[in-house]
Amino acid sequence: MPELRGTTKGPVLTRWFGTENLHTLDVYEGLGGYAAMRKALTTMTHEQLIDEVKASGLRGRGGADFSTGIKWSLMPKESAVPMHLVVNADESEPGSAKDRYLMENSPHMLLEGIGIAAFAIRSHQAWIYIRGEYDVPFRRLTDAIGEMRGKGYLGDKPFGADWPLDIRIFRGHGAYICGEEGALLESLEGKRAQPRAWKPPYPAQKGVWGRPTTVNNVETISTVPWIIENGAAAYAKFGTEKAKGTRMFTVSGHVQRPGNYEMEIGKTYRDLIEGLAGGALPGRKIKAWWPGGSSAPVMPGDLLDTTTDLDGIKDVANLKGHPIPPLNIGGRTFATMGGSGGVIVMDDRFCAVKAAHRLLQFYAHESCGKCTPCRVGGNWAVRAYEHILSGEGGQEDINILDRVQAGLQGGRCLCGLGDAAGWVIASSLTHFHKEYEEHALHNFCSAEKAAAVA
């Protein structure tokens, strides 16, 4: 294993990170692991567990911030067919690596969380959908599941409880869209991964194989053992009024110490980027940063004091002194979002137009093709960017980008990928308008010039 980059001995998720062989059951259990699952299965009811997670204020870490306890409570109390917990380990959002960090270093933490969550929602069989490229996490989880079976923590009577439990792994085969929950379930059913048009019945009624299903992110589920062990109140001491706890951030790009950091929600991005990740490279200035993977609208470099609060970050008041981009989420304007926690940092020597071009290539390439604005708009934007960057562009290309971003947003697409592509264009075009004009109208790149002079 390479050198570990990120938080060790953090408050919740990473409390035992850095311990040698933490990925083995003996070490994990020696530190106190599996106490929570034992407690859950032998002393608590399904309802008590769901209430505890509700009370903790935990919200999903896959990007949508939805209350985990409420999601669990939507599962039926009785079902004629099996019910499933499906863990989303597809992690493909550009800039996000935290789920990998958690699975590689502490696979048993995720598996213990799965044991508790599956029991809470009355499921006997959980599935982990893991992206195909994750070799080490896959091996670690496979070995760890073997260790659990050996100990009897999975099987007919885990911890002596009358609740048979099994955990299965399914490997993905490439395609960003598999992380979207409907597409993920289609993929697990052996189909092409195209998002479902969710209207009732929702996954809690009819999810994978037509059975009641709960989908949760790796980090979300990995947090559960700590909450059950220490209590909802202890967890809720961390965080803000409506966004409790700590969360993982991946910091990448132009910083001194890229890594996966655990930080209390409510601190600022300056605490994260300058405090934990060491700030800009020597002699450089942070020009732009994406708070939550490439899908979270980009922010200008002088706004690092923005809060990591999941709701507060959306407030357009954060954009002090900057124009407000035409961003739309569910009919409301917003500044940006916490998303997946993948924080990408870019300094003054890199061109904002080139960065946006690369991201649009990504969204165009990963569009599943089901909706016209997404399928056509992405490619259209890529061509406009190419034209601008070739030095042959003009105002018309900027206008095209503006039309495309408007067409992608506001519920015109079936899933969040289309909106995200629109947000990338809208936020970049607003905050770095000067660079777009330099390229389109004057065939000039100030970032490249800055890099050349340096």
Partner: protein, 188 residues
């Protein structure tokens, strides 16, 4: 003569009972086929369909949707080089050019004359704190430099059979294919 060997076909036929629905066995089955042949030929896909009692069009539809399935031949070692934003900010584009040159390739996705290499630019591989990075022979390689790439390529030239063998998967979920393509448009 079938494209797939008897034992692989047997393994494929044993997959469905492990899943709640037979179709969930399609990808694990295609993994086994690709593992054996290096890539998925039309014959292989139709044999998979036959073994699982599914429509060949359906199986092909799945195989062509996912980027880790190959329907064209690839080199013995595929360098999946991340060129997404975090890696690009740290020099991925130059490294991609360099790797192509060193591997003796003019175009992504093609096979070098010695049959050893294919280079593919891929999207974020979820290891952005180690950018620039790539996946090669079932392992991630971090903090890439031109020197590091040269060394990795040279190692594989001197012992062409050094490709790490895929780990055995647990029940049902078959190992990832030994060779994969990545930059394929998901036709809608």
């Amino acid at each position: 003569m079938s494209a797939l060997s008897t034992h692989v076909l047997e393994e494929i036929r044993a997959l469905p009972p492990q899943f709640p629905d037979i179709r969930t066995a399609v990808m694990p089955a295609l993994d086994l086929a690709q593992e054996e042949l290096g890539y998925l030929t039309p014959e292989a896909m139709s044999e998979v369909a036959h073994a699982l009692d599914l429509d060949p069009g359906y199986v092909e539809g799945v195989a062509t949707f996912y980027t880790l399935f190959h329907t064209e031949p690839v080199g013995k070692h595929v360098l999946y080089m991340c060129t997404n934003i975090s890696c690009k900010l740290r020099g991925a584009d130059e490294l991609l050019e360099h790797a192509m040159q060193q591997a003796g390739l003019k175009e992504q996705g093609t096979v070098s004359a010695d049959g050893l290499f294919t280079v593919e630019a891929v999207e974020c591989l979820g290891a952005c704190e180690y950018a620039p990075m790539m996946r090669l022979d079932h392992a991630y390689h971090y903090d890439l430099t031109t020197e590091r790439i040269d060394a990795l390529i040279a190692e594989r030239r001197s012992s062409p059979r050094s490709g790490e063998v895929a780990p055995k998967a647990p029940e049902g979920s078959a190992p990832t294919p030994r060779k994969r393509a990545t930059k394929k448009k998901a036709d809608a």
